[in-house]
């Protein structure tokens, strides 16, 4: 791409480094910003600079937060004895949106994947262990993706946690709501049958 201005080229290059953004999309975004009022653009760039400089990670659960301890960890209504272990902030948001969970979280910051060079020491596993040692926790829920990396991480965590006198559970895997049995893949359906649950009125 040939640019008429060095400044334009710089801006486009920076935008195209974002995930899912190519050169053409970057150019469109940059030209759009250029057409905006100066103070609108300032607000935009301020938001980004502030995001990077002022954001904190909760010292308890490692979730993204404005304070040293995040809102969920500091909320008195939350059950501190129930910890849900998730991969990243997006999973916290997803579970929060269900309104089904009243415990606290622990964000690992990734999954164990030797292929990508991510080992247990790159994740916040030690702090989870010390959290269990220091406070009264009765259950840990491992809510990780149903992938090979997720399974490995669950298995590894289970080995680390099994010596504590704590219930370790994983989220259920199976048929999605509104899903018809005949269209479910064999692996999922097989697991659903093998790990079936007793029927209760409250299931649906």
């Amino acid at each position: 791409m040939n640019f008429s201005s060095k400044l334009l080229e710089n801006a486009v290059n920076e935008f195209s480094r974002l995930p899912g953004v190519g050169q053409k999309t970057a150019l469109r975004l940059v030209l759009h910003l250029l057409n905006q009022q100066a103070n609108d653009v300032m607000r935009f760039s301020d938001a980004l600079t502030k995001l990077k400089s002022e954001i904190c990670y909760c010292s308890v659960c490692h979730n993204i937060s404005d304070e040293a301890i995040c809102e969920i960890c500091s909320a008195p209504k939350r059950d501190k004895g129930l910890i849900c272990v998730v991969e990243d902030t997006r999973d916290v948001m997803a579970i929060e949106n269900t309104n089904q969970f009243n415990g606290v979280y622990h964000v690992l910051g990734g999954l164990i994947s030797p292929m990508d060079g991510v080992g247990p020491s790159d994740l916040s596993i030690e702090s989870l262990v010390s959290r269990l040692r220091e406070s009264e926790v009765h259950e840990v829920i491992l809510a990780l993706s149903a992938t090979m990396e997720g399974d490995t991480t669950i298995f590894y965590l289970y080995k680390k946690l099994k010596d504590f006198n704590i219930q370790v559970s994983t989220i259920a895997r199976g048929i999605a709501f509104g899903g018809e049995l005949e269209y479910v893949d064999e692996v999922t359906l097989g697991r659903s049958i093998a790990t079936r649950v007793p029927y209760e009125r409250s299931i649906a």
Binding site: P114, P120, M148, F155, Y156, K159
Partner: protein
């Protein structure tokens, strides 16, 4: 099961050809490079969705054209099915049964089984153990669709364990807990696959011995054995015992990915002590055993493709082979050879319906 008709368009050296087959023996004769084997490969396409010889689909298209199509009419039981495979350059391969697309090609594999015997098979003897494992895996996965899934899973765990070993070697930080997680996952699938291989190999060796003895008139004692580190050891124990070695070599040195088939003749390795003819006889017995195994598991007869079969075999063994395959146990057979006379003389006195086709530079005529 048998093939009634085959039509190819722009496939390898054929511009267009339509053939009507006999339910018994079909022989293709012609000079070198005429395209005899290409007909067999077209049948292979319809059965297993790929070429037997060349993994690159686009290279099967006739030069200067931009698509190929192979279509066959298969009769299985009382039912007639039209299978078609076509490929346009730079597009995805299309595979249709009775004009409907398959959702997964894997669903087709094994439904219209076929066994191909070709001079290329010699790699099973001459090359490393990978070829022999590929042979076992190929036979088992045609009769057990869970097997292939498990094998893929095993290889994924193996890949991860190996890259963990590499990583630990370069960082000098050894995390036994994580390694043991992979050990347990690997051992669980590995043991399952080992059980399936064991279960398969027992009847397979029995069938193989029968075929070899018949083919050669008991001329020489041969043996086929399955070798695995897992005999008498659990994979979990093997992994924990091999930990020092694995760390030093930065890869997993034990497991079912080290399994092998041992071929021997007069108690010595076939690769070094068998003649070319003996090796060929061994391979043919191996493939015929695959045929019989598939036939028993599927409950109907697969197709048998014999490519350049008279090469390297003496007349006695050739005749034995032809008597054997013309027998009721085998269904429809396709043969290629350079000489029509040889095919005719071989089948003289054997009571079977033989149809001979002559092939020359992409044209086929029934004799």
């Amino acid at each position: 099961m048998w093939v009634k008709e085959l039509t190819v368009i722009n496939f390898k050296n054929y511009e267009e050809a339509s053939l009507i087959f006999a339910p018994g023996v079909n022989a293709f004769t012609g000079d070198n490079g005429a395209g005899k084997t290409n007909i067999l490969d077209a049948l292979h396409y319809l059965s297993l969705c790929k070429s037997y010889f060349n993994p690159i689909d686009s290279q099967q298209i006739k030069q200067q054209t931009d698509f190929f199509m192979v279509q066959g009419v298969f009769e299985k039981g009382d039912q007639e099915d039209i299978l078609a495979c076509s490929l346009k350059r730079n597009q995805k391969k299309q595979f249709k049964k009775n004009k409907k697309d398959y959702q997964r090609l894997a669903d087709h594999i094994g439904a219209y089984p076929l066994v191909m015997i070709s001079p290329n098979d010699s790699v099973i003897i001459s090359e490393g153990s990978e070829e022999r494992r590929k042979f076992i895996d190929n036979v088992i996965s045609q009769t057990d669709n869970r097997y292939l899934d498990d094998l893929i899973l095993y290889n994924k765990y193996l890949q991860r364990r190996n890259s963990l070993l590499k990583q630990q070697a370069s960082s000098k930080i050894y995390d036994d807990d994580l390694l043991s997680v992979y050990d347990e996952q690997l051992a669980q699938v590995g043991e399952q696959l080992f059980e399936k291989r064991k279960l398969f190999i027992q009847p397979f060796i029995r069938i193989f011995n029968q075929h070899y003895q018949y083919l050669t008139n008991d001329a020489e004692p041969v043996e086929l054995n399955y070798e695995s580190q897992l005999f008498g050891n659990s994979l979990m124990d093997l992994l924990s015992r091999a930990i020092q070695k694995d760390r030093a070599l930065e890869r997993t040195t034990v497991g079912i990915h080290k399994d092998d088939l041992l071929f021997s003749i007069h108690g010595m390795p076939l690769k070094k002590f068998g003649s070319q003819g003996q090796q060929k006889s061994f391979l043919i017995a191996l493939k015929l055993a695959q045929y019989t195994f598939l036939c028993e598991k599927k409950g109907f007869k697969p197709l048998l493709l014999l490519d350049d079969i008279f090469d390297k075999l003496d007349d006695k063994r050739t005749r034995k082979l032809m008597e054997m395959v013309s027998h009721d146990d085998f269904g429809q057979i396709f043969i290629t050879d350079t000489s029509a006379e040889r095919v005719q003389s071989t089948f003289r006195g054997i009571d079977v319906d033989v149809r001979i086709f002559t092939v020359s530079s992409g044209k086929i005529n029934a004799v």
